[in-house]
Every structure is written in structure tokens, then in C-alpha cells.
């Protein structure tokens, strides 16, 4: 099964789609690929000035700039991947109507583009960590698992959105609103300590919030103000809820995508 999915042909197609995507993204811009690093750096600069210096939403969390940046990078990855995937099946309609290729490859190539961007952005995070003298602990080895969790969550949602978008173009607008809502419900720009305790628990059931706080715990600081799901629920069984949600998103996305994939060519 695995060897069939990643056959030589599929690997070749995947790499070529990702390559094309990258080439086209920075076409006609003078700085080209440098924008992959410049864009998040500049966005971070703005948010840093507003939230770390003016509003001071850090509430005394150590290394708040890194804390802030890591949150922004993870959220950017999630939005990049889901919004790019959302329109990707419709956007590649010319291919789907005229050639027999596995449909999932298109979603997969969008996800890899987003992963590459994540990689570049994490380089920026490392630079800021060094500048900020963040002490690195053994916990950092858990980070890849947390990234995997976010990836699988985003993948499940991407599969669902891209297939649904073929039939219902409203999905594009709805998802934009949901992302905007999610941006504030997820503790990206502020310390969770400013939120009443009972809402903290609710907030951490969202896989993005849970993963983001865990990532900050493993990478930035184990300070008590960095509230993770384990800390909020004190190790209760509720802590598995975000992971169950990720599982539901992934399986649901796969099943829905598979049920729709055969009729993409007719419906686009």
C-alpha cells in the first residue's frame, strides 16, 4: 500500500508539482526566494512591537518574543496549508479534467509547500532563540511529534475543505471567517494567564491551542505561566480530547475526500 502510494511515478509528480509551485510563487519579484524569510520576519516585527512592547500581552512570560514568534509560525503553517489546499483541486481543474493522476497528490503537494515554508520559518525562530539566549532542553526532541500532530490536523481539514470546495464555493469564505475566529481563540498573541481559568481548559481542547502551548513548553520555557493542557487539567483524561479531534479530522477528511475524488472531473 505504502510503496504503491509512493511509487516512482507519484514521487516524480509530487516533486515536480512542489518545484513548480515554488518557482511560480516568487515569479517576477526582485528578491525572489528571500521573501520566504523576509515576509514572516517583517510580520513578526510588527506583532512584536505591538504585543511585546506596546500592549505587553506577555504577562511576564520569559523569552516572550520567542514565545510570540513560535506561535505565529505555527499558526501561519496551519493557515497556509489549509487555505492553499482549499482551492488546490479547483485550481488544478485543467489537470483533473484532462489527465488521470491520483487526486490526493495535489493536496499532498500543497502540504509539502507549506512544510517547506514552515522549515524556513523555524530557521528564523532558531535565530531569534539564539539572540534571546533561550536555554535548550532535552524537551526539544518532542517538537517533531507536536509538528506532526499539527500537520495531520491540517491535512485532514485540507482534504475535507478541498473536496467540499468543488461543490460549494461558499466554503472559501466560511473558512476565512473561521480562521479569523481561530486566530483570536488560539493563544497566539497573548499569554493564557490573562484568561479566566475555566475558559483556559475549554481553549486548550482546540488541537491548535494545545499543540502551540506544548511546543512553547518544549522549546521556549517551562515557566509555570506557560499553561499546557497537562497543567490545566492536571493530567486528567480530558487531555486526550485534542488528539481524538485530530484523529476525527484526519479520518473524516480522508473518507470524504475519497468519496468525492472520482467525481471531481465532472463537478469542477
Amino acid at each position: 500500500m505504502f510503496s504503491r502510494i509512493f511509487s516512482k511515478q507519484n514521487r516524480a509528480l509530487l516533486s515536480e508539482l512542489v518545484r513548480t509551485d515554488f518557482k511560480l510563487r516568487y515569479q517576477g519579484s526582485v528578491l525572489g526566494y528571500a521573501w520566504s524569510l523576509l515576509r514572516p520576519l517583517m510580520l513578526f516585527g510588527i506583532l512584536y512591537v505591538i504585543f511585546a512592547l506596546v500592549i505587553k500581552s506577555g504577562d511576564g512570560i520569559p523569552h516572550f518574543p520567542v514565545y510570540l514568534l513560535l506561535g505565529i509560525v505555527l499558526w501561519t503553517f496551519f493557515t497556509d496549508m489549509t487555505t492553499q489546499s482549499l482551492g488546490s483541486i479547483v485550481g488544478r481543474g485543467d489537470l483533473i479534467r484532462k489527465i488521470r493522476i491520483p487526486r490526493w497528490i495535489i493536496i499532498f503537494s500543497s502540504s509539502i509547500s507549506a512544510l517547506i515554508n514552515l522549515g524556513l520559518n523555524l530557521v528564523v525562530v532558531i535565530v531569534v532563540m539564539v539572540i534571546n539566549h533561550v536555554a535548550i532542553t532535552g524537551n526539544i526532541f518532542l517538537l517533531p511529534l507536536i509538528l506532526l500532530e499539527i500537520y495531520l490536523f491540517a491535512l485532514g481539514i485540507s482534504l475535507f475543505l478541498s473536496a467540499a470546495f468543488v461543490k460549494f464555493r461558499d466554503i472559501g469564505y466560511i473558512w476565512e471567517v473561521i480562521l479569523q475566529l481561530g486566530f483570536y481563540l488560539t493563544p497566539i498573541l497573548y499569554s493564557m494567564t490573562i484568561i479566566p481559568e475555566k475558559y483556559q481548559k475549554l481553549q486548550l481542547l482546540n488541537p491548535m491551542a494545545q499543540a502551540m502551548q506544548d511546543a512553547r513548553y518544549t522549546v521556549v520555557s517551562q515557566h509555570p505561566k506557560v499553561i499546557t493542557i497537562a497543567r490545566a487539567f492536571d493530567g486528567g483524561w480530558y487531555t486526550v480530547i485534542p488528539f481524538v479531534l485530530v484523529g476525527i479530522a484526519l479520518v473524516g477528511g480522508l473518507v470524504y475526500f475519497k468519496s468525492q475524488a472520482d467525481s471531481f472531473a465532472e463537478n469542477i
Partner: protein
């Protein structure tokens, strides 16, 4: 399931599309329909009705039909892009996954980048494409342009590049939609050479077209579909004739008796069959018909331009020609402008309306222009300057 000689077997394939009356691509619309108690506001359109046929290995198989007959849908089902509503398709050997040339070509990328991208769509990785790259470029004859963006290519160059990649596809069955409609004469000849090689290596080609000239020239067998049904299958000449009949019926051309038994040959001044003539050259048209067509008293002959104008018509009764047996020749000096023409001929009885046989689509021929370009127009009239 599939025996050794069969490349494709199509068994009772039907395809139905659901066409919403108003396109249901909003959630509100979908919700409203749900609240209406699941009342469906789409209609079903049956595009293919229970189609069955076989294509043998090494065949050049043509699928013809009018616009909207279902031929492209059938092709997409063969290529695996659509799935059939009912029925099954069995194939032996690998099919090309595309039905058009240059699928996925991106105007913003260079020729070189497009070669690799298009190759990847056919399943080739970078190493394999590196090995083929030079051959592809030299076949397409566009070495100098490979580092330019595709949007700066002429359409002919794009097609040559696309075709040149497509023929590398390691498939046993090539499926093509209207591919020969583009490209100049020289390119078409190249295509034909490639198709001959395919034939020689026992590979199969399925071609969809509505150009009967192509069907007659290339196909070893053909199939006519109309409104989702197979109307005729077999000899390409018969299929092409059926197709013309179908078009004539649609055009409501009155009482034309086709399936004509009149045989028409075009002979040049060297005494050989030819379908290409120069301006002012003479063609000898040999007509013959079966002996059992009795009562022929008059024969009509005409030169039609393919665009539909009768350039010249003549009959025997008016010229006082006596008919002796079941054949007759006529020499015509082609004082015509360059273009494509065909012959029409009819056998008539005593009265003007008594048509015994009529051939609407006689053999085609081309009149080629000379290089001097000193004359223009549909015909070449005698002219002197004073």
C-alpha cells in the same frame, strides 16, 4: 477477461451526468433543497447508452461523432478520468493517462521547465527526463527557445513540444482527442510517421475526431456515435459515409441518395491516380457504376469547392454525349484558384428529376497555387492586357 488480441473491451458502458437546473455551488442552495424534502432540482442527462465495443491490438481506431454526441465523454472514461455510471472497461496494457497534448503546460515557466513538469505528469522522474531531454527538444525542433517562457512560444511550437513529450509515454494504448487538428502539414506528417511506428510495434491508438479526412487516411477501424449510441462500427470509409449522411440529414439536404454506387477516379496527365493538381492542370475524371443500374440516360458531373460552392457543373444530355456502357470519362482543365475541392456525380433517367444515383461526397483533391502569386480569386479566367 481480455484475450490476447484485444487492447480495449468496453462492456455495456453508460454514463449519466446530473445537471443541476441552477448550479448548486452554494451551501444555501443545498440547504434549501434539503428543506424542500430532498426534492431534486437537477435533471439526469444520459450521455452514453449501453455502449459495447472492442479495439484490437495494433489498431488505429477512430471515434467520430457530432458535437455533443458523447465521444469525448467516452474517451475520458477510457482514459480513466471519468468513471462510468454502469458497465465496465477491460484493457490489456498501459493506457496513456492524458487525452490532450500539453496538459499542465504553464505559460510562466520556460520550455525546459515545462518539459520536466509534463514528463512528471506522465510518470517520469528527473533522471529519466534528463536522458530523454535532448531527443525531445530535437524532435520538436525548438532547441534555441528552451530557456524562454512558454508564453513567448507560437502555438505551433507549443504543440510540437507537447507532442514530442507525449510520444515518450511508455504506454501500449495512446488516447488522443482532436490532436491532428493543430499543426502544419510538416508536423502532421511527423505525427503520421510516429503513428506508423506505433502500428509496427503493435501499439494501439484511439483517436477522437470529427475530421473524416483523418478517419479515411489513418484509421484501420472506426466507430460513429450519435446521442450516446453506437451508430456504425467497422470500415472507416463506411463510418465516414454514415457520418456525412448524418450531417446531411441534419442539414435537411433534400432527397440526396447516398450510399452511392458510383465510382469516381481522378487521373492526372501522366495517367496516374492523383489528388493534387497545379492551377490550370487537367484532371481526367473516370466514372463507373454497376451494370444493374438500368435506364441511365443522363450523367451529371460537378466540381465542388469544399467550402460549399459549385465551381462547375456539366451533364451529358446537354452536350449530346451518347452513353454506351457503364463507364465514362471527362477531362476538365482546372482553371481554379488554390484550395480543396471534391467531385459530385449523378446518374439520371429521362426526366430531369428522375435521380437513379447521386454521389454527394466524391473524392477530394487539392489545387496548389504557383509561386508567382500573379493571380487571385476563386477561378482563373482568361485575361489579356491591352
Amino acid at each position: 477477461m481480455v484475450d490476447d488480441n484485444t487492447a480495449i473491451r468496453v462492456e455495456h458502458v453508460s454514463k449519466t451526468f446530473k445537471l443541476p437546473h441552477e448550479r448548486q455551488s452554494s451551501i444555501k442552495g443545498a440547504l434549501i433543497n434539503t428543506f424542500k424534502g430532498g426534492k431534486r432540482t437537477y435533471e439526469k442527462q444520459q450521455v452514453l447508452n449501453d455502449i459495447s465495443f472492442e479495439v484490437k491490438k495494433g489498431e488505429f481506431f477512430g471515434i467520430v461523432g457530432r458535437n455533443g454526441s458523447g465521444k469525448s465523454t467516452l474517451l475520458k472514461i477510457l482514459a480513466g478520468i471519468y468513471s462510468p455510471t454502469k458497465g465496465a472497461i477491460h484493457t490489456s496494457g498501459k493506457l496513456t493517462p492524458f487525452i490532450e497534448l500539453g496538459v499542465g503546460f504553464n505559460m510562466e515557466l520556460t520550455g525546459r521547465e515545462n518539459v520536466y513538469l509534463n514528463g512528471a505528469l506522465l510518470g517520469f522522474n528527473r533522471t529519466e527526463m534528463d536522458a530523454m531531454y535532448d531527443d525531445i527538444v530535437s524532435f520538436a525542433e525548438i532547441e534555441r527557445f528552451m530557456d524562454q517562457k512558454l508564453k513567448n512560444y507560437s502555438s505551433g511550437m507549443q504543440v510540437r513540444l507537447a507532442f514530442s513529450i507525449a510520444i515518450r509515454a511508455q504506454s501500449d494504448i495512446l488516447i488522443l482527442d482532436e490532436v491532428l487538428a493543430v499543426g502544419d502539414e510538416a508536423f502532421q506528417q511527423k505525427c503520421i510517421d510516429v503513428f506508423e511506428q506505433y502500428k509496427a510495434s503493435n501499439r494501439t491508438v484511439v483517436l477522437v475526431t470529427h475530421d473524416m479526412e483523418q478517419v479515411r487516411r489513418f484509421c484501420s477501424r472506426a466507430m460513429l456515435i450519435n446521442n450516446g449510441d453506437v451508430l456504425a462500427i467497422g470500415d472507416p470509409n463506411n463510418v465516414a459515409r454514415k457520418y456525412s449522411e448524418l450531417n446531411i440529414q441534419k442539414l435537411n439536404t433534400a432527397d440526396s441518395v447516398d450510399n452511392s454506387a458510383i465510382d469516381i477516379r481522378l487521373i492526372n496527365d501522366q495517367g496516374k491516380t492523383s489528388h493534387t493538381y497545379g492551377v490550370n492542370e487537367t484532371v481526367t475524371i473516370q466514372l463507373s457504376w454497376p451494370l444493374d443500374l438500368k435506364g441511365v440516360k443522363n450523367i451529371g458531373l460537378g466540381v465542388m469547392k469544399n467550402s460549399g460552392e459549385l465551381m462547375f457543373g456539366v451533364n451529358t444530355i446537354g452536350k449530346g454525349v451518347q452513353l454506351k456502357d457503364n463507364q465514362l470519362s471527362s477531362s476538365i482543365k482546372l482553371d481554379l484558384g488554390p484550395g480543396k475541392y471534391h467531385i459530385i456525380a449523378g446518374l439520371f433517367g429521362d426526366s430531369r428529376n428522375a435521380t437513379i444515383d447521386f454521389r454527394e461526397n466524391g473524392p477530394e483533391f487539392i489545387v496548389k497555387g504557383n509561386d508567382k502569386n500573379d493571380e487571385e480569386g476563386l477561378v482563373r479566367l482568361k485575361n489579356e492586357w491591352h
